[in-house]
């Protein structure tokens, strides 16, 4: 049965399922909430500002909504998808709910001690792919993804599966949630980066790497940021820069470390961690291999006049 038919049959303007209250979600603790809302008239005090520890995805299907996401105002139109990260707020001024239709889902993805987010055991994504997706989600510059109606369609599919409960629906629901995360990630990284302009993509990547140098980047994460598969990514980076992605990253790390070593107030251990080495030993070895100096020697040579 299609979702429209479902709505029709139930004479309802909305589907709203909540874990703990709706039997349909009994098997899905990682989906605290999912639904589709059709709002016919402006309603006051219904769209309260909330902050949760889950990832929330809202997709506009009809109408026009003025929302505040993480305290910033956005106007959302049909096809726009909003991505609200764990810890970010969502609401509207005076808690007004505008006229229109939207679909949404809350996904309980795990926040780890180091602040990273990653899908749980229900997910079919490999650990490294899950981590890469989590990293890309956290790096999002704008919470609104324009012209991205696929997200709404996927949420509809999830609702249909939940109501239909046909054979294999549990796998299918989880599968669709993965699908949704993949769609969102790919869409985010594809914005503005077509094959037309690899230099621009590369520059963007460079900026993100420099801003997050302490992060232990994997090639999967860098490739996902550039909106490419790892094989193509490796090839493009190598032919464009002359370096493999990891070597390029190491060069940025050492360059930044050199800059910091020339400032006396930061300790060598802090520099190692700030520039993404997992220990001062690892830093020292890599640094010496390339520059011929241990970091402490290098520092001494450059601060002799101070």
């Amino acid at each position: 049965m299609t979702t429209e038919a479902l709505l029709e049959e139930r004479h309802m303007n909305q589907i709203e399922l909540q874990h703990g209250r709706s039997a349909e979600l009994h098997l899905f603790p990682h989906i605290p909430e999912v639904g589709i809302k059709k709002n016919g008239s402006i309603q006051l005090n219904t769209f309260l500002t909330t902050t949760t520890e889950v990832l929330r995805i809202y997709c506009i299907m009809e109408g026009r909504f003025e929302w505040r996401i993480d305290r910033q105002s956005y106007v959302l139109y049909p096809g726009d998808t909003a991505l609200i990260l764990p810890g970010a707020s969502l609401g509207s001024d005076n808690s007004v709910l505008d006229i229109g239709t939207f679909a949404w889902i809350h996904i309980g993805i795990q926040k780890q001690e180091n602040g990273r987010i990653q899908p749980g055991k229900w997910s079919g994504l490999s650990e490294s792919e899950g981590a890469a997706i989590g990293k890309v989600l956290l790096l999002t510059s704008s919470p609104v993804l324009p012209r991205f109606s696929e997200a709404g369609k996927t949420i509809k599919c999830i609702c249909t599966e939940l109501f239909g409960q046909e054979i294999g629906y549990q796998a299918r629901v989880n599968h669709q949630v993965d699908e949704l995360l993949i769609q969102v990630t790919r869409h985010m990284t594809k914005q503005g980066h077509s094959g037309r302009d690899f230099p621009k993509t590369f520059m963007h990547l460079e900026e993100v790497l420099r801003r997050n140098l302490s992060h232990q980047w994997t090639v999967e994460e860098m490739a996902a940021l550039a909106g490419m598969g790892t094989t193509l990514f490796n090839e493009r980076v190598k032919s464009y820069s002359g370096f493999s992605p990891i070597n390029y990253l190491i060069n940025i790390r050492i360059s930044e470390a050199i800059r910091l070593l020339k400032q006396p107030e930061i300790s060598v251990t802090d520099i190692a961690l700030d520039t993404g080495f997992y220990s001062s030993q690892h830093f020292s070895t890599t640094f010496k291999k390339l520059t011929g100096y241990r970091p402490s020697e290098f520092r001494k040579n450059h601060l002799r006049n101070k």
Binding site: F198, G242, N251, E256, I258, L290, G292
Partner: protein, 518 residues
């Protein structure tokens, strides 16, 4: 067996080459480093990243091609882009990033000086056009607008001086790079007093002047060890990319000129005298005491075709930009010379030689109902090359150019090389594997080693195997259209100013990622 290594510190990255003593390439590597544009007029590079990139490439080149075959490195010769400025403190530590040639922040200062009598006399003394690219104006800008950096700056270096300082601990600048700072008197080879006064500095805030054959100190111990190089490995200070590309093409002596087309471009000649020009259109840089490399630079070279390809190229298949360009060139070749009267002014980035107009803008002219898509492609390439020809034409007023050579990524595309032969009506020589700058550095090293008696001798041995001969009919067509191209370039100056003023007025300020060159 001995070998020579060259290190080229270019605009977009570093290239290292190893040559055997016959000038054959043993191995090469390149590494990219980014240019940052934090403000629309700014163009900066991270000096530490350039150093690390250089070190990484040198190490890998040695380990891959040199040490396994037991070559002995006779010398390591440096070449670099001109006009960069890097301020360092008393410990030699960088104060901010290096400012590259493409940086335009000193636009206002340049405009003022260019219009003054002092500007004229400085141009005559230093050979460097009065332009925001000139370190003279960049240092002046720092003094006026970044007082803290100016006060802390113990020295103002070029990128090459900084990199050499990392390797050997010496502060040196070669004649060629120095002659492109706008601070050096190119006639008596001393820092020009009036220029220093204008910039507000004393000579001790500049590196030591050194001829291009100078050994720039001894490789530091740590590098001798990490690179497995003996202590007596000669570090040659070398020259600039412009001078060495000219030498590398063998353009020493009467009647020869060379055209370089990378992202930007230049037409150059080399000889014992400078080019004089009331309108200050040419540069005169020093290779050695009595050898000047002179010519005119353009902002609008391959980067314009790159722009065109990004906008109108075929990207429906996962082509990279090179294949998209190749497809466009195939389209262009289906259109007759002259593009059936469609003309293109390539001044998308303003222009240096010969019109020296930062406000100049691009235009397609002469469009009629029969013109098709492929006419635009051909007209775009023709426009870029008419611009090269217009520089060559004014050079021809002072030097008799009998033969030409072409180098640079875009210059050596056969379709482009042929078109230049046709426009100039001269045979054009080239080599497919274009590495003229590094080969020039090799010739310099080999001369220093005594393999050649002089640079003259070295230049004479250069053989460029591919010759493109001009087609008389095409030349006639191009000449006809060129006269209109030339008129438009100067006649539109009022409109150029009006439109660029409006463009600035209505611009939404946004830091740009693409280089903005005057």
């Amino acid at each position: 067996m001995q070998c020579v290594i060259t290190i080229e510190l270019g605009t977009n990255g570093v290239r290292v080459f190893a040559f055997d003593l016959d000038g054959r390439v043993i191995g090469s590597m390149k590494g990219y480093h980014p240019t940052f544009h934090t403000e629309p007029d700014y163009s900066e590079q991270d000096p530490e990243q350039i150093f690390i990139t250089t070190l990484y490439l040198l190490k890998n080149l040695l380990n891959e091609y040199i040490h396994p075959k037991k070559y002995k490195v006779a010398s390591i010769c440096f070449c670099a882009s001109m006009h960069s400025v890097l301020a360092v403190d008393k410990n030699g530590n960088p104060l901010g990033h290096a400012i590259t040639w493409a940086d335009n922040r000193a636009r206002r200062e340049a405009q003022e000086l260019r219009g003054s009598a002092l500007g004229k006399s400085l141009y005559t003394a230093t050979g460097t056009p009065i332009h925001p690219m000139s370190p003279l104006l960049k240092i002046t800008w720092i003094r006026l607008h970044d007082k803290e950096r100016f006060a802390l700056a113990a020295k103002f270096l070029s990128i090459k001086s900084y990199i050499i300082h990392q390797f050997t601990g010496e502060y040196m600048v070669d004649y060629s790079i120095a002659s492109a700072t706008g601070l050096l008197n190119i006639h008596d080879i001393t820092w020009e007093k009036d220029a220093l006064k204008y910039a507000g500095i004393t000579p001790d805030r500049l590196p030591d002047l050194a001829p291009v054959f100078t050994s720039a100190g001894r490789l530091k111990k740590a590098f001798q060890q990490s690179l497995s190089l003996p202590a007596d490995t000669k570090i040659l200070i070398g020259s600039s990319d412009g001078c060495l590309a000219t030498l590398g093409d063998g353009v020493l002596g009467e009647g020869k000129a060379t055209i370089t087309i990378e992202d930007s471009g230049a037409v150059r000649v080399m000889g014992p005298t400078v080019l004089k020009d009331e309108q200050m259109r040419f540069f005169n840089y020093l290779l050695t005491e009595n050898c000047y490399v002179s010519g005119g630079p353009t902002n609008n070279g391959g980067n314009i075709f790159d722009w065109f390809t990004r906008q109108f190229g075929d990207f429906s298949h996962p082509y990279d930009i090179e294949s998209s360009m190749q497809l466009l060139i195939e389209e262009a070749s289906k259109v007759p010379a002259g593009s059936d009267g469609l003309l293109f002014l390539p001044y998308l980035l303003g222009e240096r030689a010969p019109i020296w107009n930062a406000d100049a803008r691009g235009a397609y002219f002469g469009l009629n109902i029969k013109h098709e898509r492929q006419h635009f492609v051909r007209a775009t390439i023709e426009g870029i090359l008419y611009e090269m020809y217009s520089i060559g034409k004014i050079l021809g007023e002072q030097r008799d150019i009998k033969s030409l050579s072409v180098n640079g990524t875009f210059g050596v595309l056969p379709f482009w090389t042929q078109m230049m032969a046709d426009m100039f009506n001269r045979p054009v020589r080239t080599r497919q594997k274009s590495h003229s700058v590094s080969f020039g550095a090799f010739l310099l090293s080999a001369t220093e080693m005594g393999i050649y008696k002089s640079l003259d001798d070295a230049a004479r041995t250069v053989e460029l195997p591919d010759v493109y001969r001009p087609d008389k009919q095409h030349h006639a067509v191009y000449s006809d259209y060129f006269s209109i191209f030339e008129k438009l370039s100067t006649r539109l100056s009022e409109e150029f100013e009006a439109i660029s003023t409006l463009q600035r007025k209505h611009a939404i300020t946004q830091p740009s990622l693409i280089p903005i060159k005057n």
